[in-house]
Amino acid sequence: MTGDYFSSTLVGQMLFSFLLTLVTQNMVFSRALGTTTVLWVIRRRLDFVAFGIILTIITLLSSIAAYFTLPYLLESPYSFYIAPLTYVLIISIIYILMLLITNRLPLKHKRTIRMFVHRCAFNSTVLGTLLLLGSEFKTLTLPSFIGFSIGSGVGFLLAVYMISIAYDRLNSDDIPASFRGFPITLFYLGILSLAIYGMIGHELPI
C-alpha cells in the first residue's frame, strides 16, 4: 500500500488530520488557543488527563454536529456573522447532554467531572476548532473532521503535559520575582511555539 493510497482512505484522512492537529497545528502552541484554560488546569493542579478527555469528547461531538450543519450555514450570504451563533448553539446542546449523561452515570468523581464539563464547553479550543473546520469545510471530509477534532483535544492534553512538567521550576525561587509564574510561563510557551514554527517553516492560515 503506497502512502498516497493510504492518505486517500478514510482511516488515512482521519490519521493525517489527527497528527497534523496534534503536532504541527497544535492549538495551544501554533494558535495560542486555550492558553488561559491550560494555565487554569495547571495552576489548580487538576487531573489534566480527565480534563483533556472531556475536552476531546466535547470537541469531537461538536465538530460532527457542525459537519452536518455547515452545508446549510454556508448557503447563507451572512455565514460569517451567524457562524459563531450556530457553533455556540451546537456546543450548548452538547454541553447540556454531557451534563445530563454525567448526572445519570454512576461516576465516582461526579462533581469534578461536572466542573470540567462547565469549563470545557465554552472554551476557545472547542470554538476555535469549529471555526477552523468551518473555514476549511469545502476541502475536508467527515473523517478529517473527526481526526482534526480528536487531534485538537489530544494536542491540548499534550500542551498541558508539556507545561506541567516545567511549571514547578517556572515558579521556583530561582526565577526573579518579576518573571516568576505567569510571565516566565508565557516565555516557555513562546519557546515551544517557536519550536513548532521551526518544524512547519511557515505561518499557519488563520
Binding site: T36, H118, F122, G128, L194, P205
Partner: protein, 187 residues
Amino acid sequence: MSPVIVVANTLSNALVLGTTLSLLTLFTILFVSFTPKSAPYTIRVILYVLSACAMYLPISFAVSVIFQETVLRLGIFLPLLVTNSLIVHHTEMRFLRQKRGIMCLDVLMHCVGFFVVILIVGLIREVFGNATFMGHPLTSLSFKHDWLMLPFGGFILLGFLVAMAQRSRLYFAAKQQATPTIEGENV
C-alpha cells in the same frame, strides 16, 4: 489571550480587535445583568455566550464595514471573542456580584484596560517587527525583528509586559510596607 498573541501584530489589527472586544463585552455584560439569578448556572452561562453571539452580529457587521480588509486578516480570532473569559467566567464570578452602577464602571474599566494593552502590543509589534506604523513604512528605523510578528513574538512580548506589571506591583507593595505611620503601623 489567543487573539492578542496571534493577530495583534499591527496597530490596525489591534484597533479592530480591541474595539470589537470592548463593545462586545460591555454590551453583553450589561444585557445579561438582567438575567434572573434563580436560573441554573448552566442556563445562565449559555445565555451569556448566546447573548455575546447576538451582540456580535451588529458589532462585527459595523466593524467589517469600517475596517473591511483588517477584519479578513483577523480570521477566526474575531468570532472567537464571543467566548472571551470576561464574558464566560468573570461575568459570573465578579461582575454580576456587584451593584449595577459599580458593575458598569468595573466592566468599562476592564474594557479600557484590555483595549490599551491590545493597542500597546499591536503598536510595539508593528513598529519593531515590521518597521511600519499603520501600514506606512518608518524610514527612520533601520532594523526590524520579524519574530515579533509571529505567535512566538506575541508570547514573549506579552510575557515582558506582564513581568513589567508584576515588577511595578511588587515595587509599590514593598514601598507601601516600608512607609511607617506615627503609630508604627503600615499605611
